[in-house]
Symmetry: C2
Subunit: 173 residues, 2 copies
Amino acid sequence: MKASVFVGTSVDGYLARPDGALDFLPPNGGEPHGYDEFMASVDALIIGRNTYEVVRAFEEWPYGEKPVFVLSRKALSPAPARAVVERMSGTPAQIVAALTRRGLRHAYVDGGLTIQSFLQAGLIQRLTITRVPVIIGAGVPLFGPTTRDLMLKHIETRQYPSGLVKSEYEVLA
Amino acid sequence: MKASVFVGTSVDGYLARPDGALDFLPPNGGEPHGYDEFMASVDALIIGRNTYEVVRAFEEWPYGEKPVFVLSRKALSPAPARAVVERMSGTPAQIVAALTRRGLRHAYVDGGLTIQSFLQAGLIQRLTITRVPVIIGAGVPLFGPTTRDLMLKHIETRQYPSGLVKSEYEVLA
């Protein structure tokens, strides 16, 4: 199973403010920058508990009817109507193995700590970062410590009239 | 006096490794990406003491005969031959005022803490970040805490065959 990251960050690399707020991101993604096409290409999501609590509170559940695997060792708050949510726990390698056995082919990995642990484990193949033109100074970082350099191959960068810059990388190792 | 930043970072936003090493940056800048043109447009540099100690140890002093103002409250180690180095101390506003009085028109501000303090003070007008396709996990960060959002205007992003992605921003406030 392939796993990809598709995130928006501030220019200083934050996914969210310290309290989880996303108000610095443009409403509705700002302008079409490939999110819908990316979502159409995945058949499952893997998110952390913190991300789950944030998106659970959205007016609209953002993942439609795709299966969403929430990494947590504790029971989860009830899922919104329509949402397909399942709790899992384990190492990134165990999660990928479990979803592969279920026949899933492309997972969207989201949330700071979850992304970091999958990157560190070498289990992310594609990394797409859309940078919003603002520096917020603090928050939930996209990246964290690693035990080694992670080499990337730049695939393509696109810029959008509103100032979004989307860079897509293949993770080499 | 206008002040600009022109830096290379890892994709996770580091200017250097924790010990100051720059080995993750491609040798000689990788491929031409506008550094020479940028250097030709500045008439002075403002760097911090840490950056000074790192570049002092380079085989070749990277700033030619341009005046380099090193922010430090203590006396500096001797400058290399040919280098034009002067110690200064003060707030970013005081430094900019002093250099403006000397008739300088465009300063290149470099080094993590120095960049952060000038950005925070609203004294950087142009921010050019060239991202090298690697995640290093730790080091000297380009950005630090801010007391407010710093709004940017995206000017242009260019991508290079080696994988460098250079984004240029105007700092709005």
